[in-house]
Structures are given as C-alpha cells and as structure tokens.
Symmetry: C2
Subunit: 347 residues, 2 copies
C-alpha cells in the first residue's frame, strides 16, 4: 500500500479562541511534482501566532485560509521527488508546506538547508521567520543603544528570546515579561535577561506597571510589541522621550474576534495612548516580516554563527504528530508552550 498524505484543513472560522471543531484531518494520495516542482516529506512544522489571523476572513496583510483549505505554515522536510535541477533526493528544505505530511512546491520558493551547520529545525524558529522578526524589528525600528532599557513580552518565545539576547549582546538592560514563574526563570537563566516579570502574578495593567517601573528605574527606551493588551497598557506610561515601539504582533488580542472587540478595556485608552505618543515623542512602527526578506541573508550571516557557538540560545517545545497540531496551536495562543512550538511530523 502506498504512502498517504495527511493534512489539517480549516473546517470553520473560529469566533474568539479556536477550538477542535475548527480543524479537520483529511487523508488523500500523495501528490506528484510537476515541472520545476519538488515533493517534500515534512519532518517538522512550525506553529506561529500569525496563523490565528489567517483563520479569520478580516482584511489583513495576507489572504485568509479558505474554509476547507489546508492550514498555512512553514515546515522543514526532505525532498523525496524532484522535477527541479536545484534539488536532489534527500536534500533538506524549508518552505510553506502547510499543516501536512507532504507538499509539492515550486522549487524556487523553497530554501535549501545544510544540516551540517545547525539542526534543520532551527529554520523554524531561531534562524527562521520568528528569529528574523525579532532581529529585524529590533535593529531596524528599535535602534538599540548600549545603556538603554528594552522591554519585550513573550520573552521565552522565539521572537522575544531573540530580541532579548541580541539587545543584551549590545549592552542594553533587558526586561522580559512572560506567563508563569518557570518561563521567567528561563528568560533570566537560559536567555540572560536582566529580569523577567510574570504577568500572571499581576492582576491588572496597573500592578504590572508598578513592577515594571521597579525593574526599569531609568524608564523604557524600546518596547518590542508582540502581545499588546495588558502589557501594552502597562508599558506605555513608562516610555522615555524618544522611545521606539516596533510592532510585529498582538497575540493577546488575536483571540478576541480578530478585531479585538471588547479587548480594549476603558474607553479612554486610545486618547491616553495617542497622547503618550505625542508627549513622549514616540516612534511606532508596524512591520510585517515578509516585506523584508531581502535582509534575511544579513540576519543569517550575523546570527547563525551566534547560534552555532551558543551565544544565542533557543528552546523548542515539540508536539508529536500532525494530529497534535491543533491542540498545540491552541495551547500556544494561551502561552502554554515552553519556547518555540514545533510539531514533529516524521523522523
């Protein structure tokens, strides 16, 4: 009996937090590559917060996944059939292979990986899109200077841990925010943050702010925004004049119906924040990392050696099997993962 392809499709659009019924496992024949394409047997796939946005049909920077379509995502795997001169059987590659055990792709859209340098799974996290997001946003929009103070939430995730480690290597004071004592310990002991606050230990933005203020006696020069919500509200009044806020995500609002309905707290939040942007002369930059792939080689050239020799550390949280992806994804949106969330698809 020949090998079958399994994939997870979007069964229905979620209202608020996704649940099991929004996903459906489908099985079918393994597709064959056309001219210029390769067939990849996926070994590991990435789970990332942006995927929540793809489940809504709200206007965004990318097309939504159609109902019945395969969930999108980046994966690594081995070429098992090739109609492209660029790949031979057994080559390792990264591509947007979706939540699936196999994928055929235009070879030009796939990146070849060299497993002799660093483990191929690093292409999903520390040396992939999340790590690049942290590095690029910090360097391009954060404009870090030695002696400044940086705050980043989701501190042990692949974006936050990159931001914190690169900033530390440049001489900044780095304060993380994470959910739970274990993650806070990890941020300090494994990733070298100066301190890490447990947002779950602080009932509201005001309490979190008081703790942050203590941890940031000279105020905050860079707030790397990837969570929004309570953390944003806590940090804003602490921003120093001329502060920078790179904005790459807002995971705390992703589950609130896409547009963050009812997530904004008090009615006066927008005027308060807009006023802080003016009074403290802040620079707020939204960015979508897919606009900036031209800088990816610079990122790899800088950070891959730091990963290879251990100056930049990473932690992976690995779920077993494609079928485990929906649960792992839902858990990640709630912050249950410990480090970069990966799903192992095959050996």
């Amino acid at each position: 009996m020949s090998e079958m392809m399994k994939r997870i499709v979007l069964a229905s659009r979620p209202t608020g937090a996704p649940s099991d019924e929004n996903f459906r496992l489908e099985t079918g024949p393994v597709p064959a590559p056309a001219e210029g394409e390769i067939l990849v047997r996926v070994t590991a796939m990435s789970l990332d917060p942006y995927m929540r946005g793809r489940m809504d049909d709200a206007k965004s920077y990318a097309q939504p996944v159609p109902v019945g379509g395969t969930m999108e995502g980046g994966s690594v795997g081995q070429v098992i059939a090739s109609n492209s001169p660029h790949f031979k059987l057994g080559d390792w590659t990264f591509g947007m292979f979706g939540w699936a055990t196999h994928s055929v792709q235009n070879a030009k859209l796939c990146r070849k990986l060299d497993p002799s340098q660093v483990p191929v799974n690093t292409a999903l996290g520390v040396l992939g899109m999340p790590g690049f997001t942290g590095w690029f946003g910090l360097m391009e929009y954060g404009k870090p200077k030695a002696g400044e103070t940086l705050v980043v939430a989701a501190a042990t995730g692949p974006v936050g841990s990159m931001v914190g480690q690169v900033a530390k290597s440049m001489g900044l004071r780095v304060i993380g925010i994470a959910g739970g004592a274990e993650k806070c310990r990890m941020a300090v002991e494994e990733f070298g943050f100066d301190a890490c606050l447990d947002h779950r230990a602080h009932a509201d933005a005001k309490e979190l702010r008081a703790a942050l203020q203590e941890a940031c006696p000279k105020g905050v020069d860079i707030y790397f925004e990837n969570v929004a919500g309570k953390v944003l509200e806590a940090v804003m009044p602490l921003m120093n004049v001329g502060g920078r806020i790179p904005v790459c995500g807002m995971i705390s609002w992703y589950n609130e119906g896409g547009l963050g309905m009812n997530a904004g707290g008090a009615k006066d939040q927008l005027p308060k924040m807009w006023r802080t942007i003016l009074v403290n002369r802040l620079h707020v930059h939204g960015f979508i990392i897919s606009d900036h792939w031209a800088r990816f080689p610079e990122f790899l050239g800088t950070v891959a050696p730091m990963v290879a020799d251990g100056r930049v550390k990473y932690v992976e949280d690995i779920a077993e099997g494609l079928e485990a992806a929906p649960q792992a994804f839902m858990g990640m949106l709630l912050g249950k993962n410990r480090g970069k969330q990966i799903v192992k698809i095959a050996d």
Copy 2:
C-alpha cells in the same frame, strides 16, 4: 502717569473646556531689564492650541503654568529698553513674552526680526512655530513623495495650511478637513487644496470616512495628525501600506480633561488602531517642535522666500486688545477662528 503693564494670569485650572473664570487680568508697573535683558513692548501675540495643555497640571513635555502665573505664549514687539548689546531701541523681536503688554527677557532668548522682508506678525504663524511645525513634521516624518495622497485636518489653520501648501508644491494630492463650508472653500480657493471636507457635515467618523474615501481614491499615504478624535477614527482604515502619521497635536481631545477622558468612543478603538498600525505597516511619530529648533534656519531659508513671493499663503484672524485674548483662545479651541489666531496688543 507712567505706562502700566497688563497681563493675563491663570486664575484657576479648567475642567474640560476653559471658561472666563480661568483667566484674570492684572495690572502692575512695567518691569525694568537687568543686565543682558531687554524690555519689549508687545504689539501682537499668538494663540495656539498647545496653551490648553499648559493650563492642566498633568505631566507633559513642558511645565504647566502655575495658578496665578502669566499665561505662556509667543509674541512680537519692539524693544523699548535694552541692557544687551544685541538689541537697540526700536528693534523688532519675537520671544516668549506671555499674555502681556510688556515683557523683560534674556536677550539671548529673543529672535530679532527684519520688518523689511516680511510683516513681523508672520513670526507668529506662517514663519513661526506653527508653520515650522507643519513643514518639519511633513518633511521629517511624512516623507512626502509626488503622486501620494495626504490628509490634514484644521486645514486652514497655520499648521494645516502649511502642510497642505508644501505638500501640493511637491506634487501630492492634498485633502483637507475643516469645520464649516467657509473654511473648506478657503482651503481649496486660497490654499490650493485639491478638496476639503466639512467634518461638521458628517455626523460621525463612519460618514466622514465614506466622504474621505471618495476624495482619496488611492487611499491615504500621509495623515498629518493635529486634531485626533473623529478625524483620526475616520482616516485610520484608509491608510495605505507603509503610510506615515506625524503627530503634533490632538486639539479635539484637549478640552476633555487633558487626558481625553470619555473621548475615545468605543472600547475597541485602541485594538483596532493598533491592528491597523501592524497590518498596514504604519509609521507613527510623535514630535514636539521645540526639540527641533536646530532645523529652524533651514525652514526659514526654504519657506520665507515662498511666503515673500506668494507661493505660500497665510490668513490671519486678529482679535483686538489683550483683554480679548481669553475669548479668542476659547473660540480657537472650538475652531471659530479663520486662519492664524493673533491678538493685537498695540500699534
């Protein structure tokens, strides 16, 4: 009988919109200049929205006016006594002389004016702080490019009319927003805007947005923010990818208790806006013009010739006498002025 000095002091802090009782006229002897100082007889003073902020004691970029202190402001006048080698009797000067008929000032903090080039009152508006604010914010943070679309509110004010005229001269499509049909006519016929929308003719942000959408068929690349409130809410969803938002003020919120309490409308405004900043990769820059005086000579060198030969136009609304200042100021906050609001103090 010798000449007396009149000044208007902050009698009490306003709650919401200022009223007569917040101001008090005081009369006293004309002060004498110490070493290095000059005594100025003020001829005209400027009224600007930022003064509303000085009446609150909320933390801001400048110290609040103390209760009982002279209201702050920039004025022009003639030197009538000088203890400085830099000024002689009869010289014209601009300085922060406050809401007063006379002022002694450190001569180094006063700018000498040449009445043979342009009328001295231009130092209060088109060639002063407001004009510089519009020019600097547009050039530094708006980064205008020919063919793009710019939106600016308070279009006939000294900031908005500068932004619009400079942007037009660089080949942008310029859409103004103003209060009332007469101001809209002025923006188009006198200042050369492509179109100007009357925000009073649109009941809410949604209606205003529909009208803006029609006037901006290619979306909005630059929103020069000086009013916030309904206009901000209307413009945000129309911003193009990579759009820029220089933020120099938010006059529509200044009367709402400083922090804009209850001015934010729905609870979901902040998440919606934050999401737009991310999805459309916007660049939002708060700025306070007093940080940037080093660029003032560049501004004057560029724009003064355009004012002198009529390429940049300006309109002044002149109230008569220091006693008229509070009413004129309160009117300006409500948009009752027509062009730059000036108070004539003496001939």
